[in-house]
Symmetry: C2
Subunit: 325 residues, 2 copies
């Protein structure tokens, strides 16, 4: 295993990307209060977080604006309401999903936008469409990333070919995404090696976005960062779809750069996260997510099972298992 | 990193040790119903678990038998009430803490006992006392282990000397114990290498007992098993002191030996674990345990904080931090 840096030192190339509103929005249809988002923005600044992802640039033609909170669409004006002119070290990112974004209408020149980075989420079979968005955004002046989702489902040859294609593009960052939370550290390190080789060859930065179905989101994040992965996605208290993500408070506990401070995150949890749970919002590791993760399946059945307040785990496992045969 | 076996195969030397009643007993003073323990025993048999630890052989002179459930003391007759003549592949273990056990009175010849293995828990400064118990139990016919607790607090030289001392003894198994849940996979692999070197030199088996303060119990367990560690402690749904342990359901999801079956564990969770939580028993990963784990401290303050239903995490962190200075 290649290794970059030591446990007691830090690497200045590390960037923490807070995805709480974006991935957490998948839990509550982006219905966060302005106070939540504003407090999170100030918390991120105080904690030394490098990027804050506000949500999606989703198509208003495809999605009903009355059914979702505003962070599903991330109008530039809504972001400006929170960040003003954002005269801070915290950069702003949004995500655009291939096939779900009117990027030519909704993404303007960076000079006129509060956004710094556009991250494009794609499955492995839509990479040319993702590259089209990346090229558009790159020309508009944004930092860009390609996030290849559900990499646990793709084969080595397709992935190698995809990384070559992406490597030759103008994209800045390439993300390993364990959408189903099914990958073990050993597999993650193998993937990281592959992505890092591509990054070295084509001068791209590599990132990781993990899910916590098997309580491995934090472990997979720190294991791959030790190898040289430098963009690290996390969410406060794991808030994110299904089993959630790598918890920011665990990640900041690990990182040694003195600019990172866990204390503002703890205050944010006291004020906002405890309340969300009390109000009945459910996310995070639980048996149904372990089962979909273990079987390398999309978490949607586990989300439904949890929503229905079922506890017949044995039946559920049989149901998931039979789907594979 | 040395590696033993592959992700798709299995190693017959792997043994899963269920510590649910023993470590979980630290959460509820061992007040489990007989139905719980009997069902767990049958579940372990059906799931292919290798050892079930029933509790402690604690001194009845030091501890008030009216204040604890019977598994604090593990009278042989109480075990026999559950297991009968235990005509199964499941072996029975109990733990004896150095300084808290009347082993000469309470541990009889193995020929007259349902117990197969005695595990001796010790801090690094009481290893000679631990070896005295081990030698006694070895002569009585038991398999024995030494579990060096809080290894995250010991220095390399003391640990090397201790492993030499233990290596030369008659003990069968030596355990890495991350009592405070403070160790990262990178550190765990370094420790595993050290223990495995000792094991190779002196023909001892190496085990791991992890705690989940930083959501790393499962990751640390599978990372060290990949290197050759073979005795793996786990508890159903993490039930154990503070942040709990490596969850059996995650571990069985990883192991490839067809004798292991996750389904009986899922049934047990449906019937018993959901109920324990509903009745108000609290254990498992939470912010206070992350903070003691990160600071490499005993979880007792986090247990008290949780018991008091406090959520002022920022104050608590400051309190813990100031203790270190």
């Amino acid at each position: 295993m290649k290794k970059k840096g030591a446990l007691v030192s830090y690497r200045p190339d590390i960037k923490v990307v807070d995805c709480t509103v974006r991935d957490g929005g998948l839990v509550n249809n982006f219905l966060f209060t302005d106070e939540f988002v504003k407090d999170l923005y100030n918390t991120n600044i105080k904690s030394g977080i490098d990027y804050m992802e506000f949500g999606y640039k989703a198509s208003r033609e495809q999605f009903d604006v009355d059914k979702f909170g505003k962070w599903k669409f991330c109008n530039d004006d809504d972001i400006i309401d929170i960040v003003g002119d954002n005269d801070t070290d915290l950069k702003i990112s949004v995500m655009a999903d291939v096939g779900r974004t009117d990027f030519r209408n909704d993404i303007v020149d960076k000079a006129n936008s509060p956004i710094d980075m556009i991250r494009v989420a794609t499955y492995i079979n839509t990479i040319p469409a993702a590259l089209e968005i990346v090229e558009y955004c790159n020309k508009k002046g944004y930092e860009t990333s390609i996030n290849i989702m559900a990499v646990s489902k793709s084969n080595d040859m397709d992935l190698d070919d995809s990384l070559e294609l992406i490597g030759k593009s103008c994209v800045d960052d390439i993300y390993i995404v364990d959408s189903y939370g099914s990958l073990y550290p050993e597999q993650m390190r193998r993937l990281a090696e592959k992505y890092l080789d591509c990054g070295e060859k084509y001068n791209k930065t590599i990132g990781i976005h993990a899910h916590n179905n098997q309580q491995l989101a934090f472990a997979n994040t720190i294991e791959t960062l030790t190898m040289g992965v430098s963009y690290l996605d996390s969410t406060v208290s794991s808030l994110g779809r299904g089993a959630g993500n790598c918890p920011t408070e665990l990640l900041l506990g690990f990182l040694k750069n003195p600019k990172y401070d866990i204390v503002p995150i703890l205050s944010f949890i006291e004020k906002h996260i405890v309340k969300l749970r009390e109000e009945g919002l459910i996310w995070g590791y639980d048996i149904p997510y372990l089962l979909t993760g273990r079987l390398n399946q999309h978490p949607r059945d586990a989300i439904q099972f949890t929503h229905d307040k079922r506890i017949d785990y044995k039946n559920f496992y049989r149901f998931l298992y039979d789907k594979e045969i």
